[in-house]
């Protein structure tokens, strides 16, 4: 019983991380059709901010967390302004290549100006202890991660449903021009989308750093690849799809880790992606892909 609960917590924590990052990708994709592969670098930016904060002798972990999230948001908005605005209305492929380029430039900047080696950040270790509930032992970090993600999703849903900018963002995913024709400034919608995306990356960064305890230039690569897969499974451009895909991916991953015999342990990812391939044969556009209009009625 304990074992099962622990594995469920594992799956939820994995899933929460993927869902956070997948949401960040999906929000940007839904309004501008851009797969932002530089999203992972926002996690690394957050990580290096923690290093810098520690170097500045800021001990308060609350300050460090807020700084990491804040800098990730600023970095994300800056990227939109500098790199993505010029290709905003260009071909999707141009946007994709731009994102790859930005990602590489940032990784190399970290390599050149910080360090190619991992740098330890110990200030978040306090988030991890075990909670004992009777015979159950749960990691506090996993609990925090799951709860935080759920809270963030609820806040995001509220924002998208009940604020003017939220409505504009949802409308923009279908018809951006008409949103502008209603008088909402396009630049604001894009800036907010990237700000939210950076915020989500910042939150994910806090938990990734608390778990790993170190940052290196390629910190964001793996998580964003997984988030991308989560988006594809859930249906690219669909926000509920991104959340569903994230948690589903987490669950499948943990299930494979648990069920595969020791000898096949190294093939976990292969099995995970195999299952996803089967899923995509069943639903090629992803589980919750936005319905495409086929008629002439607009």
């Amino acid at each position: 019983m304990e074992y099962v609960v622990q594995q469920i917590m594992n799956a939820l924590a994995f899933g929460a991380e993927y869902a956070l990052l997948a949401l960040g990708l999906a929000i940007v994709f839904s309004i501008m059709g851009l797969v932002n592969f530089a999203h992972g670098e926002m996690i690394a930016v957050g990580g290096y901010t923690m290093v810098a904060a520690s170097a500045l002798a800021l001990q308060n972990p609350f300050v460090i967390i807020v700084a990491a999230i804040g800098v990730a948001m600023v970095a994300s908005v800056t990227l939109e302004r500098v790199a993505f605005r010029p290709v905003r209305y260009a071909d999707p492929t141009t946007g994709l290549l731009t994102a790859f380029g930005v990602s590489m430039i940032l990784q190399n900047l970290f390599l050149l100006f910080v360090s190619p080696r991992p740098i330890a950040v110990t200030s978040l270790y306090f988030l991890e202890w075990s909670i004992e509930l009777g015979s159950l032992r749960i990691s506090s970090l996993q609990l925090f991660e799951t709860i935080t993600t759920l809270i963030v999703i609820v806040i995001l849903m509220f924002f998208l449903k009940h604020t003017l900018l939220g409505l504009a963002m949802r409308a923009a995913s279908l018809d951006f021009e008409m949103v502008r024709l209603s008088g909402v400034r396009a630049n604001r919608v894009f800036a907010i989308a990237f700000m939210i995306s950076g915020f989500l990356a910042g939150i994910a960064c806090v938990f990734i750093m608390a778990r790993r305890g170190s940052v290196d230039p390629h910190l964001g690569f793996d998580p964003v690849l997984k988030a991308f897969v989560a988006c594809v499974v859930g249906g690219f451009g669909s926000l509920p799809g991104a959340v569903l895909g994230g948690f589903l991916l987490g669950a499948v991953e943990v299930a494979m880790l648990v069920m595969l015999p020791q000898s096949l342990g190294g093939l976990t990812d292969a099995f995970v992606f195999g299952i996803i391939a089967i899923l995509l044969i069943w639903r090629p556009d992803g589980i919750l892909a936005p319905r495409t209009e086929k008629g002439d009625k607009q």
């Binding site: 003017l164 409505l167 504009a168 949802r170 409308a171 995913s173 279908l174 018809d175 021009e177 008409m178 949103v179 502008r180 024709l181 209603s182 008088g183 909402v184 400034r185 396009a186 936005p290 209009e293 009625k297 607009q298």
Partner: protein, 232 residues
Amino acid sequence: MLNVENLKVFHGLIEAVHGINLVVPKGQCVALLGPNGAGKTSTILGITGVARSTGVISFDERPITEMSTEARIKEGISVSPEGRRVFANLTVEDNLVLGGALKPEGKSERIAYWYKTFPILGERRDQMAGTLSGGEQQMLSIARALMNDPEILLLDEPSLGLAPKIVSQIFEMIQSLRDEKRTILLVEQNATQALRLSDYAYFLNNGRIVAKGRPDELGGREDLMAKLTGIT
């Protein structure tokens, strides 16, 4: 109020409108008529800044040619575009809320007013706009355009693809807007109806204005009507 001089509108490299002049005086309804592909919608796209254009567009004596689309809307131009383009993934109510993005004050009164004018929209306020019928979407599109309380309303083919009964309902509504002394630029293929509603009309063909005048003058021109309907 709206003054367009030597307007040329481009789609990529193609010039769709070849330098037209057009005036919409305050409080009047001006019709822009013409057959398919005459450049009517392109003219609207040029005025709203969605399509690239050259020439001078001034609004209330202020030049708006250099402004972005959003800035032009803020000046007081509003549009119910061709094909209605309601936000299909938003509820009817949210469509109206977003349509009133620039005028938050008195928003709920205006929404209530539209529910009274079009009771069907009130009944379906929580329904996704994509599930409405074509006629309902057209009502919503016009109501949404008026949520910003604009100085001028550009109406692009409000009767397109609608059942005759709905069409007369839409035109009745435009008539009531006219009675309120709103300024309207009405783009239509349905010349008879549009002429009945307007104070002045321009006839566009192949991207040029080929005739203009008061409705009673233009209405009698058999040659124009023939061009419109394609009956020669």
